[in-house]
Amino acid sequence: MEVANPLSEVSEAIIEAGGEALKSCYQCGLCTASCPWNLVRSFLTRRLIHESQIGLLDLGSEEVWLCATCGACVERCPRGVEIIDIFKALRGIGTQWGVTPKTVKIAMGGILTSGNPWQEEREKRADWAKDLDIKAFTQGTELLYYPCCTPAYDRRARRIALATVDILKKAGVDFGILGPEENCCGESARKLGEEDIFQSLAKGNIDAFKRHEVKRVLVSSPHCYHTFKNEYPDLGGDFEVVHITQFLMELIEDGRIKPEKPFPKKVTYHDPCYLGRHNKVYEEPRKVLESIPELELIELPDSREEAVCCGGGGGRIWMETKKEERFSDLRIEQALEVGAEVLAICCPYCMLNFDDSLLNMGKEDVLEIKDISELVNEVI
């Protein structure tokens, strides 16, 4: 008979890798019951934490890589356990043991060699802006636009960067880009337990921003927003960061842009985890949408703190998710359920996942996925 003995060495290793939080868990299971995975398959967050507590954990298990770091569990955890830190630690150890999923290895390889997870060349980072006549950021430029690797390289997500630049020009904002001098923000790398890679990416960005005396950064991705705002300051980052939805609100309030053209459609809004739960930005995106004439804003059944993740956070965007296990499909269903014609988003990962789901579900005739920047650009 197989005998299980607690392995304190394993739990100590997890704690050492940053998983200290696991000690506070009192095993109530609220995390499991809040986790979106349980909408599509069984995933017992609580059990994983307990297995970590007593060191009886299969580090090679697929479960270690499931967490999308959406924060739904952390939001409500009665003991304030930073569950995401536990997953970061488990993955860090998993990486040392060489059990990282293959697609993650490829993305991380790309980041190591060229500063982006898309295995694209660093020199091509500003190709999206080639014919747009955007100036390179120089000392004294008011605003740095940092599009994130995804809109910079991915053909579908590129429309976010294009719309944003269009708006900035219409509003007469003095802005520039850094192009090949930028690195990936490193959010996913960190959540995948690749702390060293994260540190080197962050250092590269912070140095570049300092070199050009960047004071204010506009981002399209809530993941970049979170990392720049909450994690870079510990590493010496000293600049203001603003998410596009906040910036649009600012431009509207200052009268620099005016949503004038009617948009007579039913629009629903999906709160990205890293803008909502992680940073409590709930109002600005809604206010921007509400400022558009004739736009009817309807809420999804699970919204704000309760919003269901698209499935792309925590590095999940680089991993394969089985067709019947995609949270983004559930979210599309919710949007259709409330009768929306447009699902408004404001995160490049959300865009990739929802675009995929829409195609797979064959619902592209009834629902459109639009970034808030696209929507605004159409009506000013």
Partner: protein
């Protein structure tokens, strides 16, 4: 100045001696200025330890004593007594705390630190001056604030012993939360049946002056001689004339049209009302928010019916709030708790779904004297076929209250029993840990576990939703939870959800703490003097706390605390007077410039500027000896006896000379 100081270094078993070398500390002290002998001893607080000091004082003509041992909170009074017995002023004793401040918190260097602490204490002792305690007579009257079970019990115990009690209750009737409950765990006796006899005793007790519908606004003075200002809210009914016949309530034009606070909005009342049938005093009040006469000056064409039917002409729309000044020797606070608003935990849908109710609402539903005459029913009048009880709503939760509310597990079991007794509904208990620790509690848990139709699911529910995923869930409320024992995420469709919402400090606890000059704990409840050894006293002498104002507790514990508070008061009354510590502030009138800074710092109101000279004066009865005034005084005019500049600077000098 010649001094003869004795130094005693305690081992406290290994509590001190494990990290501090008491011998070395004593040897080092022996060479200090004024020290004539220094000893170490296993337990200074033991009888032989005390004897040792007593003998030395006499034989070696010691005039100052330094004991290096535990915190002065523990044994300062012991060694002061020894000094007094040996014939020297008790304030010639100094304690060097080498346990809590040294041996318990250091490994390396503890002996060196102990030596320094002793050196500073010797210096302080060197400059200590003799002080005399004074005596204050205890006023034989007592104030009890709050007329729930705690206040009722404390008032009765003191009154039965022959002393006068003023019982102040904010609501129109005494009874508190307990009178709202249906049955009480674990014995299932009816709450009103066991409480109303005590309530009537209060109402008719010759030694109890019941001031219902009243609030304490100001408290001044100190132990033995408190002065309390009480606002008696206008009842608009003359209590002396009213016979409590209740005709006015029946005739009120608004009868059945105003939601009843007592029934938590589940039942209705009139504008003139008593909160419930067995109210004490059984005299109604008029609610000025709703009464047509008070709001508009008009009530129907023929005038107010209450006036018409009131034989003794007790109704008085002209009544105003009045104020009473009471002199009392001690005060018991029994102000109870608030039930946390469950809508603060939005994921459970309280306020959004009709059939998500709070624990107290269930008590009213299940109570035979309640709005449904004891029938457990849904909002639409139907009987539920299934009920979920969610434990720990806002308790044991860092997002709300970190503490355990202590009563919920047991009342949840009681609810399950009542539901099974009155309906055929299946009951699901969603719990984290079952905490059934009191007398008969575990037995009750076992009894309920074996009853049919009650299921225990170990897990904290994540949400209550009305969005059905299956046929079974349609038209139901579904509770999402991980059954952590199964390791399975499950959805439980039910008709009714009861939330065991947390017991929390009264909304005005902070204000009350200021009025009574007592402290609050980090969790917001009133703070006891010592969590284990002095749980009834507060830091304000003569003010005691009982029941849930000190933290969540069940009825047996509340009654025990109330009786303990009464015994504290009776012990003061038996003594008749108390010694007052002579450690108070004083003013050097020559130096004081009357800037008033210290007056602003004094939280006890002990300082005031004496006009016209413009010099500060100290009310010694109010001064608690905290030293805030002498710390802030820019001219050095304010000083605190036993902590004078000379004494404190002497200690500092001792540290810095190292």
């Amino acid at each position: 100045m010649e001094r003869r100081i004795g130094v005693y270094v305690c081992h406290c078993g290994l509590n001190i001696a494990a990290t501090v070398d008491p011998k070395e500390v004593a040897e080092s002290a022996a060479s200090l200025n004024g020290v004539v002998l220094a000893r170490d001893y296993m337990f200074m607080c033991s009888d032989p330890g005390q004897e040792l000091i007593l003998k030395d004082i006499k034989e070696h003509k010691l005039d100052r004593v330094v004991v290096a041992a535990c915190s002065p909170l523990m044994h300062e009074h012991t060694f002061r007594r020894v000094c007094r017995e040996a014939g020297i002023n008790p304030y010639f004793l100094e304690i060097a705390n080498i346990r809590e401040h040294c041996s318990w918190v250091h490994d390396d260097g503890a002996t060196e630190k102990a030596k320094e602490l002793v050196r500073a204490a010797v210096m302080k002792a060197y400059y200590d001056e003799p002080l005399e305690t004074s005596e204050v007579a205890i006023n034989p009257n007592t104030l009890v604030v709050g007329g729930g079970i705690a206040g009722i019990q404390a008032a009765l115990d003191i009154a039965d012993a022959g002393y006068k009690v003023y019982l102040v209750e904010r609501e129109p009737s005494i009874g508190g939360h307990m009178i709202q409950l249906d049955k009480t765990f674990p014995t299932l006796d009816c709450s009103a049946c066991i409480l109303t006899p005590k309530m009537s005793d209060v109402g008719s007790h010759p030694n109890i002056d019941l001031l219902s519908y009243s609030e304490v606004e100001e408290v001044s003075g100190s132990i033995g001689e408190f002065r309390v200002k009480v606002r008696r809210k206008a009842r608009y009914v003359d209590e002396n004339k009213c016979t409590g016949c209740g005709l006015c309530m029946d005739e009120c034009r608004l009868k059945g049209r105003i939601t009843s606070e007592f029934d938590l909005g589940l039942g209705m009342r009139s504008a003139i009302y008593t909160p419930f049938a067995q109210a004490v005093p059984n005299k109604p009040v008029i609610d000025p928010e709703h009464c047509l006469m008070l709001k508009t000056g008009k009530c129907g064409k023929e005038g107010p019916k209450c006036v018409e039917v009131c034989g003794p002409e007790a109704i008085d729309f002209e009544q105003k709030d009045t104020y009473l000044e009471l002199d009392v020797g001690s005060i018991i606070l029994a102000t109870g708790y608030d039930q946390q608003d469950p809508s603060a935990v939005p994921q459970y849908g309280y306020g959004k779904f009709d059939n998500v109710i709070s624990g107290l609402e269930f008590e009213r539903l299940s109570n035979a004297a309640g709005p449904t005459e004891g029938q457990i029913m849904l909002k639409n009048g139907q009987t539920p076929e299934s009920v979920a009880i969610i434990h720990c709503v806002g308790s044991r939760d860092k997002n709300f209250h970190e503490y355990c509310s202590r009563v919920c597990c047991m009342y949840a079991l009681k609810f399950a029993h009542l539901i099974r007794e009155k309906t055929n509904a299946e009951v699901y208990q969603m719990y984290i840990d079952m905490r059934c620790f009191g007398e008969g509690y575990e037995e009750f848990y076992e009894r309920l576990s074996t009853e049919d139709g009650i299921m225990f699911i170990r897990g904290k529910a994540s949400q209550v939703t009305d969005r059905a995923q299956t046929e079974e869930e349609k038209g139901k409320l579904t509770v999402c939870v991980e059954d952590t024992l199964l390791g399975k995420f499950i959805r439980v469709p039910v008709d009714m959800v009861i939330l065991c919402d947390a017991l929390e400090p009264r909304a005005d606890t902070e204000e009350m703490a200021k009025v009574f000059s007592i402290g609050r704990r980090a969790d917001g409840f009133f703070m006891e003097r010592h969590v284990k050894l002095d749980p009834i006293s507060t830091l304000n002498d003569g003010i005691f706390i009982a029941g849930c104002c000190e933290g969540p507790k069940d009825i047996p514990d509340t009654v025990a605390q109330a009786k303990a508070a009464a015994s504290e008061v009776l012990s003061l009354l038996a003594r008749g007077s108390v010694e007052i510590e002579p450690i108070v502030a004083s003013v050097d009138e020559e130096v004081c410039i009357g800037c008033g800074l210290c007056e602003k710092m004094c939280v006890y109101g002990a300082l005031s500027l004496a006009e016209p000279e413009g010099v500060m004066t100290v009310n010694e009865a109010l001064c608690k000896g905290c030293g805030a005034c002498s710390g802030i005084c820019p001219s050095g005019a304010m000083s605190l006896s036993h902590f004078t500049y000379r004494q404190i600077l002497g200690q500092v000098e001792a540290f810095s000379s190292y």
